[in-house]
């Protein structure tokens, strides 16, 4: 009798466990279906919108561009005086990418080799898969010359980082175009004949992003000399929709002739606490004169620009006091 009772109990227990397992599988099925549906709805909603995120990286530049499944990065911010392992790339850009569930960057553009533009990308190479890194062709001469390369630790670190993480290094010159799906990035400067400049700011690449027939210009840290060159050579006839103000709003850039030629609808200044007096009040006044609204990352936090077929919308992470 005892044995029979025990077996019965066992049978009941077994049935219970089987029912439990069946329930678990049912639940998993529902979760998978719901998540898939959510993914589909989410991807439809997100499709065909280009989003530009001008991150607040303090004194420096970093802009993440997403369009459908493609991601581009223009500069990565950075601080010369922070720990190598705990710099802007690790503490600001990487958490942002995690937040947006981005683990692959198609092309990372480095405007020029200053800490506040390149350091973040050097850090990101360790954490995110960056397929291609695009730099100005003027650095080719440095890379080919071992002695000069040793004097340029950032370039050396970049080459090593690209090699270790399997990222392809591209050298861009004026006229080069990187084409994605319904999006393209065109390089306007430096020209093929432009040599390496002693003033590093003037080695900056000028990049134009074209999406949904809108034009966004990234100017790195170019100064007036380069602006004059661009004005003389001419860019394109149409005015641009959005300008990343050169050199954090420094008075050495954003000359009148440059603004007259570009006629930007909106300007964005990526700037933080600094000792260089950026942004210059003179430059801010100039933008005011030209009736160009300017957004500063130090006031607004991250600035998000959403572009679709209909409009160009600007959203800020913080509201200005």
């Amino acid at each position: 009798m005892i044995n029979v009772g025990y077996r019965k109990q066992k049978k009941v227990a077994k049935e219970k466990i089987q029912a439990y397992c069946y329930g678990v599988w049912k639940l998993i099925g529902i979760i998978v279906i719901v998540l898939t549906l959510f993914n589909v709805v989410f991807s439809i909603y997100w499709k065909d919108k280009t989003r530009l995120y001008y991150l607040d990286v303090g004194q420096g530049d970093a802009c993440v561009i997403t369009h459908n499944q493609q991601t581009f990065l223009v500069d990565g911010g950075g601080n010369r005086y922070m720990d190598d392992a705990n710099n802007i790339g690790r503490r600001v850009v990487y958490p942002f990418l995690l937040d947006k569930k981005i683990d692959n960057i198609d092309v990372a553009f480095i405007s020029h080799m200053h800490y506040d533009h390149v350091k973040g990308i050097l850090e990101l190479l360790e954490y995110v898969n960056i397929e291609k890194v695009a730099i100005s062709h003027v650095y080719k001469t440095i890379i080919e010359d071992q002695d000069r390369l040793q004097e340029s630790p950032l370039i050396e670190e970049l080459i090593n980082g690209c090699y270790e993480n399997g990222s392809e290094l591209l050298f861009l010159e004026a006229g080069d175009i990187i084409v994605g799906e319904n999006i393209r990035v065109e390089c306007h400067y430096p020209y093929a004949k432009t040599p390496y400049q002693e003033n590093e700011n003037n080695n900056s690449m000028i990049l134009e992003l074209v999406t949904h027939q809108r034009r966004i210009l990234f100017t790195g840290d170019i100064e007036e000399d380069v602006e004059r060159l661009i004005v003389n050579e001419g860019l394109n006839n149409t005015s641009i929709d959005l300008l990343k103000v050169a050199h954090h709003g420094s008075k050495t850039s954003s000359s009148r002739m440059f603004l007259e030629m570009l006629k930007p609808s909106v300007g964005i200044i990526s700037v933080g606490k600094n000792n260089h007096g950026h942004p210059s009040q003179e430059v801010l006044k100039r933008y005011e004169e030209f009736k160009i609204p300017v957004y500063l990352t130090k006031d607004y936090g991250m600035i998000e620009v959403i572009i679709d077929k209909k409009e160009l919308k600007i959203k800020t992470y913080l509201i200005k006091d």
Partner: protein, 465 residues
């Protein structure tokens, strides 16, 4: 005491701890963001030269009004000439500034908030680091010796405690350096004292590539070997079980103190001690309950551990050993009479059981999996206990005479060479398979499948029994 009783105590402890921490945080925020001008007595710990002046990292020793800030660290920019003036030195490179205590008056830097999505709130980050960030000082002065003497008892105790710990660590460190070559010395310092700084960087990378990094950390494996050795020694003296447990417990706590109460060691030690406790006090040895108790208590005390890779991997490994290992063992149990073959299958089974549970975690976090690591682990894990025990014996012997220590260190050196050669031979370029990030959906499905399989096997085994 029952399992539920222990959990209840832990819950009460945790709730009271959180409530206390919550008020502490509120006090901290109030103190930090108050508009009062604060006077802090600080000890400078580290100085870095920047364009804004000397960035001095300091620890607060005393505060005039806000005692919540004592013990917290922070940093302050001090102008070079001011520091020179205070110390009356022409050269700062002599690091004289570290030997003094300073009194600074000023306020904390305000406006801490994240300015980008996904960015950790700087204040939460700083609180986690027990730091309050930047202090803007109006006045700085050097304190005289008389002022510094008036220290609180607690800080004196803390200092003494740290001094004693450091002294013993240095002693062990010295004995290790006497007995072993540089390679084994670095390895053993990491295994015994939890200090990886002396491990050669290339070697560290090699261990990491081979999936053997866990050997260099104070993990459950080392702690269980340690506790097992103690138990074995005490049994040799035929001491009663209760007494053996008390001795093991006391020595384990002393070892934890020597390690500086690091979390991974506490976790492993807790597991080992509860195991010994159940044996010593004739409690029914309920393995599963011990495991769940440790997991629950750990998650109650450190909820963030759920997202910590070390926590997930270590408990994943234990799950594998508890539930998958016995199931897989049945497949080769009939070979038990052939000792060598059985040992080989058993080593393979241990690694496979652990891998089957942990590989989704590895894929999720590392976006790939080390195939050569699996084989290396099979070949190496079996010799680790021997390496650990022989090394400890050598260290103890070296206290008697350095030559004796060196002589006995021969066994450990041979095993270390074996580990290195295994790593070198199996260091293939294609050893690491890159799969990209694994979706959370697949992980849920995989673990549900695995748990269902284990439950079915468990039911089947009970039926057969």
């Amino acid at each position: 005491m029952s399992f539920q009783g222990l959990l209840l105590i832990l819950c009460i402890y945790s709730i009271s701890n959180y409530t206390f921490s919550y008020f502490q945080v509120l006090d901290f925020l109030e103190a930090r963001d108050s508009k009062d001008v604060l006077t802090l007595d600080i000890d400078i710990k580290e100085v870095r030269q920047t364009e804004y002046g000397y960035q001095c990292y300091f620890k607060v020793a005393k505060v005039t009004s806000q005692s919540q800030l004592v013990g917290y660290t922070g940093y302050v920019y001090i102008k070079e000439y001011e520091l020179n003036q205070l110390l009356n030195h022409s050269k700062l490179s002599e690091f004289k500034y570290l030997a003094h205590r300073y009194r600074i008056t000023g306020q904390f830097e305000k406006n801490w908030y994240p300015k980008n999505p996904g960015q950790i709130h700087p204040l939460i980050y700083l609180l986690g680091q027990r730091s309050f960030g930047k202090f803007e000082y109006d006045n700085i002065e050097l304190m005289t010796n008389d002022q510094v003497e008036a220290k609180q008892f607690f800080s004196v105790f803390q200092q003494k405690n740290a001094q004693y710990r450091q002294r013993i660590r240095e002693k062990v460190d010295k004995q290790l350096s006497v007995c072993f070559r540089q390679i084994e010395y670095g390895l053993l310092k990491a295994m015994i004292l939890g200090d990886k700084t002396t491990v050669d960087q290339d070697l560290l990378t090699r261990y990491s590539r081979s999936g053997l990094s866990h050997i260099l950390a104070i993990s459950g494996l080392h702690i269980m070997i340690f506790i097992g050795c103690l138990e074995y020694i005490f049994r040799f003296f035929q001491w009663p079980r209760n007494f053996r447990f008390r001795m093991t417990f006391s020595i384990s706590i002393a070892y934890l103190w020597l390690l500086g109460f690091i979390i991974s060691a506490i976790r492993a030690m807790g597991m080992g001690l509860i195991l010994i406790f159940t044996i010593a006090y004739d409690k029914v040895y309920v393995r599963d309950r011990i495991l769940y108790l440790i997991i629950c208590s750990f998650l109650i005390i450190f909820p963030n551990a759920l997202f910590s890779i070390s926590f997930l991997l270590s408990f994943g490994a234990v799950f594998g050993l508890f539930y998958l290992y016995p199931i897989l063992r049945k497949k080769y149990y009939h070979f038990r009479e052939n000792v060598l073959l059985y040992f080989m299958f058993d080593s393979l089974n241990i690694s496979l059981s652990i891998l089957l549970v942990t590989f989704p975690i590895l894929l999720y976090f590392f976006k790939g999996i080390s195939l050569s690591g699996f084989i290396v682990n099979v070949l190496v894990i079996a010799v680790v206990p021997l390496f650990y025990i022989s090394s400890i014996i050598s260290v103890f012997a070296s206290f008697i005479h350095p030559l004796l220590g060196r002589f006995l260190a021969g066994t450990a050196t041979i095993i270390s060479s074996y580990i290195l050669s295994v790593m070198l031979v199996l260091d293939f370029d294609f050893g690491f398979l890159n799969y990209g990030a694994l979706s959370l959906q697949y992980i849920v499905v995989y673990y549900s499948g695995l748990i269902t399989y284990v439950v079915f096997q468990h039911v089947k085994r009970e039926e057969n029994d």
